[in-house]
Symmetry: C2
Subunit: 134 residues, 2 copies
Amino acid sequence: MMISTRGRYALRVMLDLAENGQNGYVPMKEVAQRQELSLKYIERIMPALVKEGLVEGVHGKGGGYRLVKRPEEYTVGDILRISEGDLSPVSCLVSGAPPCNRAESCKTLPMWKKLYGMVNGFFDSITLKDLLDI
Amino acid sequence: MMISTRGRYALRVMLDLAENGQNGYVPMKEVAQRQELSLKYIERIMPALVKEGLVEGVHGKGGGYRLVKRPEEYTVGDILRISEGDLSPVSCLVSGAPPCNRAESCKTLPMWKKLYGMVNGFFDSITLKDLLDI
DNA sequence: CTTTTACCTACCAAACAGGTTGGTTAAATT
DNA sequence: AATTTAACCAACCTGTTTGGTAGGTAAAAG
C-alpha cells in the first residue's frame, strides 16, 4: 500500500525526461547518473510506462526514452498508479480484494473510502509541469 | 507505510470498547467474537494502547480493557500512530529515516510533505465518537 | 485453588521491497 | 559484417514486514 521506491523513482525519471528530453531520446544511463539511481532497477520500472503509453522507448545508439505528451498532460496520479498499482491506503479497498462480509456494518469503511478519494484527488491534481516549476 | 491490519484492528477494538464498555471492563474474548478477529492477535496489539495511556487493562475475572477517556476525546490519528507507527506515505518522511542528501533539490519532496500533512490532519480531525455516529 | 483474563516471548510462513545477474533483441555506427 | 549502444526480459536473492500462532506466566476474583 502507498508509495514505495518504484513509484517515487518512476516520477523522478519522468521529471528528468521532461527536463532533459527537448532534443529526442534520453538514455537511462544518463538519467541513472543524474538521479543517482540504479540503472538496472530503472530498466525494470520503465516497460510498464511504455505499455501504458506514457513514454516511448527506442533501442540502440541515439535511443532511450521520451515523453509522448507535454509535461502538463501527465498527472502524478497516472504515473503512480501505473508504477505502484492501486493507491489505496488500506487493503480492503484495493481493486480485486476479496469482498469483506462486514462491509455493510463497518464503522470505519466510510473513513477509508474518504481518504482514498482524497489521496487520488490530490495526486490527480498535480501534473509533471507543476513539479518542474517548484 | 500506511494502514495495515494492526491499525485497523486497534481502531475496531477501540470502537467496540466505546460501544460496549458502559459498565466496566470488556474482555477481549468478547471483542474478538463480535469483531471476528483472532483473540491472540488482539492480545498482541493491546499492550501498546495501555502503555500510551489510551486504555486500562485489568487481569482476572471481571477484568478486560476499558477506555480511560470519553470517545470524543480520542482521535483516529492517535490510535493509528500508536498501533501502526508513523503515518507517512513515503519512507523519506518517516521520523528517524536516514537524511536524503538530495532533499534540498528534490522536486517531489514538497508534494510528499503536503500529502503527509493532509493525511495526519484528516485522521486527527476524526474522533471515536464521530465513527460511532455513522 | 481454580477460573478468568491480561500479558509476554518465541516462533513461523508468506508476501513484499529493493534490488542484482546475466542475458537477448533492436537500432545505429564503423 | 562487426561493434556498440541501449531497451527489454527472466530469474534469482536478501532482508524486512505482515499477520499471525503456540505456549506459556502473572494477577485478580470467586
